[in-house]
Amino acid sequence: MVKVFDCPKSLTDMPTHYCPGCTHGIIHRLIAEVIDELGIADKAVGVAPVGCAVLAYNYFVCDMQEAAHGRAPAVATGIKRVVPEGVVFTYQGDGDLASIGCAEIVHAAARGELITTVFVNNGIYGMTGGQMAPTTLPGDKTSTSPYGRDTKKQGFPIRVSEMLATLDGPAYIARVSVHNVANIVKAKRAIKKAFEYQIAGKGFTLVEVLSTCPTNWGLTPKESLEKVQRDMMPYFPLGDYKDIEAGEKK
């Protein structure tokens, strides 16, 4: 018998604290698989955000730092400058990265900082109980947009990948999704490419992953995956937004 699929070595045994069906867990696994495949567990340093993934430092078998809310790219910059031979990644939610940490991610990208960011876009503040995120879709109800996000007063969702792709510092920026198996496979490919580009010193890399929050969306895990495809993907189209090896496209 041959192993077709097994738990990656770069994940610890500790069960995660994520809610049932939350796709944070899938994304964690993909990162761990990539770390395994690239054989970089012993030189990877991860940076956990403040968000539902705040305990991510418990789940990866590599050195980790827990950053202040939104500041993971700055923390990662500090680490990478000290350990240039290390492989440094941040794992950040949409509140963390696109709201409070907006300046940090823009500037890490503009600096072409040699780090990889996995950006988990679930359109909500999961950890704090379902408040509006910068990526919450127009009309969606959250605990701070109880009447539905009104673009007149609360503005429009930010398309982070498109925005960062206007900069010269990034080497690779892609938006992927984990709402079905085919996309999970693609998502892993993107994350792997991002890490490879970092290792090759090509520039800043970011993979935006459309993710779910069944708990705060008030949907079952399955319905949540459907919402990603039905509602999120039209607003946040999947694709490579920047690939210095391939030229820009979209």
Partner: protein
Amino acid sequence: MTLGVIMAGFGGQGVMLMGQLLTYAGMLDGKQVSWMPSYGPEMRGGTANCTVIIADEEVGSPLVTSPDAVVALNLPSLDKFEDIVKPGGLLIYNSSLINRPPTRTDIRIIAVEANDIATGLGQPRVANMVALGALLEATSLISEASLEQALRNILPAHRQELLPINLQAIARGRASVEPVLA
């Protein structure tokens, strides 16, 4: 007189609401009251509990270290709180989900088949009300009238149709106490 009650269960079993109803009823009875949730690092699906104080004087600490009564809706809650019930106090546990009987002998213990009774009523989600009914019956913490009024006030306008089933659940909870006393 100051009485402290801890109510505990899985998230989703409605322990927070149960505690709020008790508190509300106490307020309507003209008592001094407070309600304090646990809001720790537990994730959704984990355990949840709240502490209710009903008193004649100003409420000091909204937390209690040895509660006068504990309502435990699941096993982890029983495990966590059985030991701290005040000697002579009351422990109500949901025997539908808890398969080990409590071991304390210095307190009054009431088993309520909360889930079974609720399911019997055709609405499994009112198990918390069944337990609350048992508490109402077993103590003189609050009056029945105030509890009913509290329920009316707390249910939002578009949910008032749920009033009867909740009242029924409370009644069945009260009724369930007798056999244990016997």
